[in-house]
């Protein structure tokens, strides 16, 4: 105590010590209850809400980017699909045309073939008919001629002679 009593500056005054302890403790308790608690809480809450809002915005941004890229992908895919479909359609069209052409060609040749056959057949039939007709006509003519010729004896004899002559000539 003698050391502290050397200078009034460094000897704590009990009165001020008591008063400041009271005042500080009262200040501390009132402020903790009515000021610091709500202030710190409000600050925390505001920070949380800001953080939340930011992270939500970030999420929304990511979502947006995802959607956009998805849309782009979809568009690209659709474009590819369209091209593909168009190409396929063209191919099919060409194929169909080719097929039709070929079929038509084949059918045509077949028809021509058939017509040719028919013509030949008809020709042969007609030829046979003509031959028959000619032969029957010749026979009839011959019969008629023969009848006429053979109505008298002389003529028959002459004929036979003729024939015979002919034979001799052969």
């Amino acid at each position: 105590m003698t050391l502290l009593a050397l200078n009034p500056l460094v000897s704590p005054d009990p009165g001020l010590f008591i008063w400041s302890t009271f005042a500080f403790l009262i200040l501390f308790f009132i402020l903790s209850k009515y000021a610091w608690k709500p202030i710190v809480k409000a600050l925390d809450e505001r920070e949380h809400s800001i953080e939340d809002a930011l992270s939500k915005a970030e999420l929304a941004k990511a979502e947006m980017a995802k959607l956009i890229s998805e849309n782009e992908d979809l568009l690209k895919e659709a474009r590819l699909e369209r091209d593909h479909i168009l190409r396929e359609a063209k191919e099919i069209k060409d194929q169909i045309i080719n097929d039709a052409k070929e079929q038509a060609k084949a059918e045509g040749t077949k028809l021509i073939e058939k017509a040719k056959d028919e013509i030949t057949n008809q020709k042969f039939a007609a030829m046979a008919e003509i031959k028959n007709q000619v032969s029957s006509l010749s026979i009839a003519i011959a019969e008629k001629v023969l009848r006429k010729q053979l109505e008298d004896q002389d003529k028959q004899q002459a004929l036979v002679n003729d024939l015979l002559k002919e034979v001799k000539l052969n």
Partner: protein, 381 residues
């Protein structure tokens, strides 16, 4: 809160540069001034004799300004008397400080409710039975210390009034802000709220969180109260007139009270790990007789350092400012004011910064000490 922009600010650095330049210029002027005044003193023998006495007076005046007082001196002979409350051996006595005039030379006996007191150099003592040779009722021992016993003085002194004013301001401001936070929930701060919010966040993010870790929440009220209490009182101490001017945070009783609060919080919250460090330090067992007392002394040196640091810094600032002003009276020349006043201005600006820094240091060290007390056991070091 990032403070680097303050130090990086062009404006501030240019001000500091000017101040330094000015101080050099004025220092050379000062030495000239001093030499001339020395010369003038030598011419007059009476003045020369008066000089040492005057210097002693000035150191007394400075100490008087820094010390507590039973009245609030405004100017000239006008002072606000404050209630004196004494716990004497005959019970509680209270009166206004101007009841017995302004005699503090210890030459008058004060009759109070059956007890007699004497007022000497701002303090009340029980008088000696007879007047001593110098006409006072004060007696001294061989070392020159007063041996009179004194009653317990729980007066509402100048410092107590200042304390009550600062407490009232703090209550009004922060309860008002808390109301603003409730009213404007989730909205951006406004007015006073937006001025103090960064500082509250500074205490939270740069003081509490790094020192206390995830358990910072419970100590926030204490740290915030200490920070704003110390800061406001540092600033009020710099205001030279009412309601400032009381050297509250430069009074060792107040810093002792604050340090004691930190000490109590540290001790009460100390966990097993903390006491383990004190009672079974990580040294070979045969060093225990040395280390345990050192650790126990360490428990007390921390708050004592807190107490002295704040007290000494603020008191030193006040003494510096008062000394610079006293130069005018020591050198007995009005022209010294041309140097002393800019110097005082310069120091006052530094003291503004010191007021903040000391509040910050007191708070961060309190947080650090509490932090070591509540720290969980981790890797050995």
């Amino acid at each position: 809160m990032d403070l680097s922009h303050i130090f990086n600010s062009k404006k501030i650095s240019s001000i500091v540069f000017c101040a330094v330049l000015f101080s050099f210029l004025s220092f050379s002027a000062f030495s000239e001034e001093h030499a001339s005044s020395e010369a003038s003193h030598k011419t007059s023998a009476t003045e020369h004799d008066a000089k040492p006495e005057k210097e002693e007076d000035i150191s007394k005046v400075i100490l008087h300004h820094i010390a507590d007082s039973h009245e609030w001196h405004f100017f000239g002979h006008f002072a606000l008397p404050l209630p004196v409350i004494l716990w004497t051996d005959k019970g509680l006595v209270s009166f206004l400080s101007n009841k017995f005039g302004h005699n503090d030379h210890g030459t008058e006996l004060l009759e109070l409710g059956g007890t007699r007191l004497v007022y000497y150099h701002g303090k009340y003592y029980y008088p000696e039975a007879v007047k001593s040779a110098d006409g006072t009722y004060i007696a001294y021992n061989n070392q020159g210390d007063i041996i009179n016993s004194s009653p317990l003085d729980i007066s509402i002194t100048k410092n107590v009034v200042s304390l009550l004013i600062s407490v009232t301001i703090l209550l009004f401001v922060f309860i008002g802000i808390a109301r603003a936070y409730k009213k404007r929930e989730g909205k951006a701060p406004k007015g006073l709220q937006s001025i103090l919010e960064p500082i509250i966040l500074f205490v939270r993010d740069d003081i509490a969180k790094p020192q206390l870790g995830h358990k910072y929440r419970g100590f926030m009220p204490y740290l915030l109260t200490v920070f704003f209490f110390v800061w406001l009182n540092n600033l009020m101490g710099l205001v030279p007139f009412f309601p400032g001017g009381a050297n509250l945070t430069g009074n060792i009783a107040v810093t002792m009270m604050l340090a004691l609060c930190t000490f109590v919080l540290t001790t009460v919250n100390g966990n097993k790990n903390y006491w383990g460090h004190v009672l079974t330090p990580h040294v070979p067992w045969w060093l225990y007789p040395l280390m345990i007392p050192v650790e126990i002394i360490g428990l007390f040196t921390k708050p004592i350092a807190l107490m002295i640091r704040l007290f000494a810094n603020i008191t030193a600032g006040h003494i510096l400012i008062l000394s610079l002003i006293s130069l005018i009276f020591i050198l007995k020349s009005i022209f010294v004011a041309g140097i002393a006043v800019p110097f005082v201005l310069f120091i006052s600006v530094i003291e503004l910064v010191v007021g903040f820094i000391q509040a910050f240091i007191f708070t961060i060290l309190s947080a650090l000490y509490i932090g070591t007390a509540i720290e969980e056991k981790h890797a050995e070091h």
